[in-house]
């Protein structure tokens, strides 16, 4: 189905240069937005740009999934595909061959993450206008969209690059624009400023740790290309420089991915950022950092190394478990709904890391499936949240009382995503949690299975409190008449809610993506 893009839709230049265009297009447009006079025009342009990136991501996915027949047909038609081998697209930036030049390298894992980022980015762009118009001052709206596109390009760049230092640059491009975006929430609540500042300090420390780690790897191998690392590192497993590099990289990327207990920046940043920014970040930023972590754990390093196996068993798995329990508890005691959702996000990162720490194809694909599903459900929850902020201004549990009657369409979609977060059957969350349970049982980690169930019970409590207030309490504030969020918000929101239901019924599409991705990365490690 997806291959028809290659054969019918996409022009030859788009197929040949999809990889760089996906990143460069939003980056160039972002600078151009400075000169756009109106916020509405900037909004339309950013929809087009993120939509174009989505199109390029689909081309890349089709290329990665394409079989030899299709590729041969493309080659016959004279279309350059940059295929390194089946399943891997490699693009040499500026024509400099990979080990020397910077390489964009896409396999099944990147293709999946790129599709996720660009899909959420496009949907969030469509959704953004009413809430941005309400929360950002008119003269800053075009700049706001500029910063958003820079952030989008940075995240896509992290997901697409095959060069360790280039990854740092893209990580910082996305992070620095994120600090700005979070701070713009100050128009509504000044607490956004200290939140953004703390995020800046911690984010910079994380990125610097990553650079130190890359420095150690560079000192040991003399290269920055990830594929080169795969080839060179097996001889250097016992080298302490390599091991130190590993430790620094895991901590640095763990901080960006909000691995417990390095998540302190996240709750405040999500709670006080403009609603649209929270929606976009919650669904993409930590996911991309997690992708980078998986890339380093399985492609650059390999589970075959003893120090990595030890870190799976004694570092990543325990921290994942701690996140699932501790942050779910913290979520229960929040009175601000956005903070509940933010703490829940950290707990969900724990689920993904638990799947990853199993280091099996089954475990990693369960983690990746949960990563995708979580982007869909958290995106939906924060979109509904944004609609409520727009129409009713309140974000506390008390403000949410009785909203089920005032805004039934918004809150029904909210409820679907909330049920998916808990893991109720027939929703996306159920599929990934079930798969995670199976994976832990297969690995013999029965205690981890117990924690998954326990943490889900906590999710029932914290989401249940909100749903109870929404649907079973009378509105405390009498001025709450029936008023829905604008249609522009409702449509993307319901797309995500229905996606949650669809995946709950038939998870084959995301499951195949996750499975292929896991096989691609573990296959690489398995060759050693």
């Amino acid at each position: 189905m997806i291959e028809s893009i290659l054969t019918h839709l996409a022009p030859a230049w788009a197929i040949a240069h999809a990889a760089p265009l996906l990143v460069v297009a939003p980056l160039v447009v972002a600078t151009a937005l400075v000169f756009v006079p109106s916020g509405r025009l900037a909004w339309l342009i950013s929809i087009l740009t993120t939509g174009a990136s989505l199109f390029f991501a689909l081309i890349l996915l089709a290329l990665v999934q394409a079989d030899t027949v299709t590729l041969a047909a493309l080659a016959d038609a004279g279309i350059q595909t940059n295929m390194l081998r089946e399943g891997v697209v490699s693009y040499a930036i500026g024509g400099w061959a990979p080990p020397v030049g910077i390489e964009f390298r896409i396999d099944a894992l990147n293709a999946m993450i790129l599709l996720l980022v660009t899909f959420i980015g496009t949907l969030a762009s469509v959704f953004s206008w009413p809430t941005v118009n309400a929360e950002i001052r008119t003269e800053k709206q075009n700049l706001f969209y500029g910063a958003y596109l820079v952030c989008f390009a940075g995240l896509a760049g992290v997901a697409i690059t095959g060069d360790a230092f280039n990854l740092f640059v893209f990580l910082e491009i996305s992070s620095i624009s994120t600090y700005v975006l979070v701070a713009l929430g100050a128009g509504r609540d000044r607490r956004a400023l200290p939140a953004a500042f703390n995020y800046l300090v911690m984010g910079t420390i994380g990125a610097t740790f990553y650079v130190i780690g890359v420095g150690f790897l560079f000192a040991a191998t003399g290269t920055l290309n990830m594929a080169d690392y795969t080839a060179l590192l097996p001889e250097l497993v016992g080298n302490r420089t390599v091991q130190a590099g590993f430790a620094f990289i895991i901590i640095g990327l763990g901080l960006k991915a909000a691995m417990w207990p390095l998540h302190q920046w996240l709750p405040n940043a999500y709670a006080y950022a403009p609603s649209f920014v929270t929606t976009f970040l919650a669904a993409t930023a930590t996911k991309v950092a997690l992708y980078a972590l998986i890339r380093f754990l399985f492609t650059v390093f390999s589970p075959a190394y003893t120090f990595e196996t030890a870190s799976f068993d004694w570092l990543i798995a325990p921290l994942a478990i701690a996140a699932m329990v501790a942050c779910s508890f913290q979520a229960v005691f929040q009175t601000d709904v956005r903070r509940t959702l933010a703490y829940s996000s950290v707990a969900q990162v724990g689920y993904m890391l638990l799947g990853v720490s199993l280091a099996s194809v089954f475990g990693v694909s369960a983690g990746l499936l949960h990563l995708m599903n979580h982007a869909l459900m958290k995106g939906g929850l924060f979109m509904a949240m944004a609609g409520i902020v727009l129409t009713y201004q309140g974000t506390t549990l008390r403000d949410f009382a009785g909203l089920g009657r005032s805004a039934p369409w918004t809150m029904t979609a909210f409820a679907i995503c909330a049920l998916s977060l808990i893991g109720v059957p027939l929703t996306a969350g159920f599929q990934s949690k079930l798969m995670l349970l199976q994976a832990t049982f297969t690995a013999g980690w029965w205690w981890a299975s117990g924690v998954i169930v326990f943490s889900s019970v906590l999710a029932v409590i914290y989401m249940g409190r909100i749903l109870e207030a929404v649907f079973f309490k009378a509105p405390e504030n009498p001025r709450k008449v029936r008023k829905e969020a604008p249609l522009l918000l409702l449509i993307p929101l319901w797309v995500l809610a229905l996606a949650n239901l669809w995946i709950g019924l038939d998870a084959s599409f995301p499951y195949d993506l996750a499975r292929n991705a896991a096989e691609a990365v573990i296959g690489v490690g398995g060759q050693q």
């Binding site: 910082e172 620095i176 600090y179 100050a186 953004a196 300090v201 420095g215 560079f218 000192a219 405390e476």
Partner: protein, 255 residues
């Protein structure tokens, strides 16, 4: 043991700076001090990379002195790729030279110019053997050559004749000899340029972060009237408590 510690002076400085920076950025309550700590931390990483790329006795990767001559004969294609290789090859050979090359005598020699010890010996043989190339280099940038010779120190003298031999064989016309000449005729040892380039990028990133951070501090000062993290936190807590009390009172009033 003492030698082990002294030989790694750079790394001790880096570790000390790194820990100082991290400690400041964690412990300081003043937001600007936090940013300063962060910058110190980042700077230590810059130094770490530069130290990685440093080849003992190496200069910047530019063509100076005899290299200008040698390169003129050999062609321009090979510079980037072979440069690194050349630096790598020569590093172990030239390292013993490093102890000789102390900066103090060098600085004293240059201003005197009356009797430079290394200069004429370093340049004259090259001038004789490859006269077409050396002249412009000699007349255009004399200070550079002086610097080069002084950085390289005495071991240059042995190398010069060797290099010019290569150049001459390159002129003779055999293609692979030319190639070889390009590779090993790069006479000056220079540091690995890659870490320097990386750190240039990282410095730009660091400056951007610092700028955003300072802008945020300005906005925090406008919004809170203070730049102390604990005071900001206390203000937030007080405001939140007041709001909660007001809401409770309103709820009771409504009931």
């Amino acid at each position: 043991m003492l030698e082990f510690i002294l030989a790694r002076g750079n790394y001790w400085v880096i570790v000390a700076l790194m820990m100082t920076g991290l400690y400041i950025s964690f412990s300081a309550q003043n937001l600007i001090k936090r940013l300063v700590g962060l910058s110190v931390f980042q700077t230590s990483v810059f130094l770490f990379y530069i130290t990685l790329g440093k080849v003992a006795g190496g200069t910047a990767p530019i063509l100076i002195g005899e290299d200008l001559a040698g390169h003129h004969g050999a062609g321009h294609e090979e510079d980037a790729a072979h440069g690194t290789a050349a630096a790598g090859h020569e590093a172990p050979v030239e390292t013993p030279a490093a102890p000789h090359v102390e900066t103090e005598p060098v600085v004293e020699v240059d201003p005197e110019t009356g009797e430079p010890i290394a200069d004429p010996t370093a340049i004259d043989p090259a001038a004789e053997l490859a006269p077409d190339a050396v002249d412009p280099g000699h007349s255009d940038i004399p200070p550079l050559q002086g610097e080069d010779a002084s950085l390289m120190g005495e071991p240059l003298e042995d190398g010069v004749t060797e290099t010019s031999d290569y150049v001459l064989s390159g002129h003779d016309g055999a293609a692979d000899a030319l190639h070889q000449a390009a590779e090993s005729s790069l006479h000056s040892v220079y540091s690995n340029p890659l870490p320097h380039v990386l750190i240039l990028t990282a410095i730009v990133v660091g400056v951007a972060t610092l700028a955003v951070g300072l802008a945020l501090i300005v906005r925090i000062r406008e919004a809170y009237g203070t730049i102390e993290a604990d005071e900001v936190r206390n203000i937030d807590i007080d405001v939140a408590l007041e709001e909660e009390e007001a809401e409770d009172a309103a709820a009771e009033g409504a009931a």
